[in-house]
Symmetry: C2
Subunit: 205 residues, 2 copies
């Protein structure tokens, strides 16, 4: 079964980050992933990016500004991916399959971004953390919408749509924790398997 | 359906940590969870535990020793929980349900331990990280055993038993990421829902 209209799971992140900032953000992701946010200095990040701290400051006035940008961009890309997935299918099961498949593949492809964002959620300034949680709730509601629609038209059988929507997203998000690039599993193969598992989880044979 | 012979998901962790070390380990878990391993000092941990650094050193000679103990104890408790769950049921589906239910409930109950262990895996000394990965592989194999047995006797329908075993554990492990104590969901209710989802995921109606 096709996984939806989004040809590459990475497109949503790629398109929303300008090339000039990408190098700095990638250096920050690498540094935060290696040592954690609190133990990383802006000097570490500048060194990894091959820049002087002064050059880094032109784009990002603080370490927190880098984390905020990584976190916002990551969540906005994921939310956009979910909307695009939903828009490409005519029925609830097709939409759910596209969302789960693309969302899981995205978390494999961007496992390092997802890990940093997750691990450093508590380091975000309050306003930014609230915005991130708002985007997460929006994604969860959109998935739950598909389950409710599927139950309403008799396509799915789910008692607790909220809890099952959360479980479906949780399963996909956790791909970022265990995924190893270059192994037997590709983002696409994981996406397809997870769409099949999601189909079973909502009671469709 | 009963979830197996383990009455409390916490028993495996509780029984394996002596009371005298528990206070220090809990202080270390709190500190690592709040600031990350690299940004935490042994002095921070001693202060949280209400001890002098010297008193802490009697039990744990370094910050790394605390992380190793937390990580080993956590993984040994989880592996023991899986074995106990398997031992309590006569057929593959019953065993799988018990494992998933208890494993998910454990990750809710001990979400803070699980988060620290996961986030600081790269901070473990090499030998200890290898031992942790060995325990994880053992748990994954034991779950896959149930899927293969279930397929063999015609109770389950699973093509890629390895990937589905990993997905089932991944779903349960990720409970530690999102679980909030005192909310609508309890460790037990999450365990029951996840046993039902696992039943569907292996193709049983």
């Amino acid at each position: 079964m096709a996984i939806g209209p989004v040809s590459s799971p990475g497109s949503a992140w790629d398109s929303s980050v300008a090339e000039s900032s990408r190098r700095m953000l990638e250096a920050a992701i690498d540094a935060f992933a290696a040592r954690g946010y609190h133990a990383t200095t802006t000097r570490d990040i500048a060194t990894r990016a091959g820049l002087s701290p002064a050059a880094l400051y032109v784009h990002f006035p603080s370490k927190a500004a880098l984390l905020v940008q990584i976190s916002r961009t990551g969540h906005e890309a994921a939310a956009e991916l979910v909307e695009n997935s939903i828009a490409g299918s005519p029925d609830p099961l097709g939409r759910l399959r596209a969302v789960v498949s693309n969302f899981a593949a995205w978390h494999a492809e961007y496992h390092q971004v997802a890990r940093v964002v997750q691990q450093e959620l508590s380091a975000l300034p309050d306003d930014d953390r609230r915005e991130v949680l708002r985007l997460r709730q929006q994604i969860e509601r959109r998935v739950e919408d598909q389950l409710r629609d599927g139950v309403r038209i008799g396509q799915m059988s789910v008692d607790d749509t909220r809890a099952v929507a959360r479980a479906l997203l949780s399963l996909s998000v956790d791909v970022a924790r265990w995924y190893v690039p270059g192994g037997r599993d590709t983002p696409e193969s994981i996406g397809e398997l997870y769409a099949d598992l999601a189909t079973r989880m909502v009671g469709v044979r």
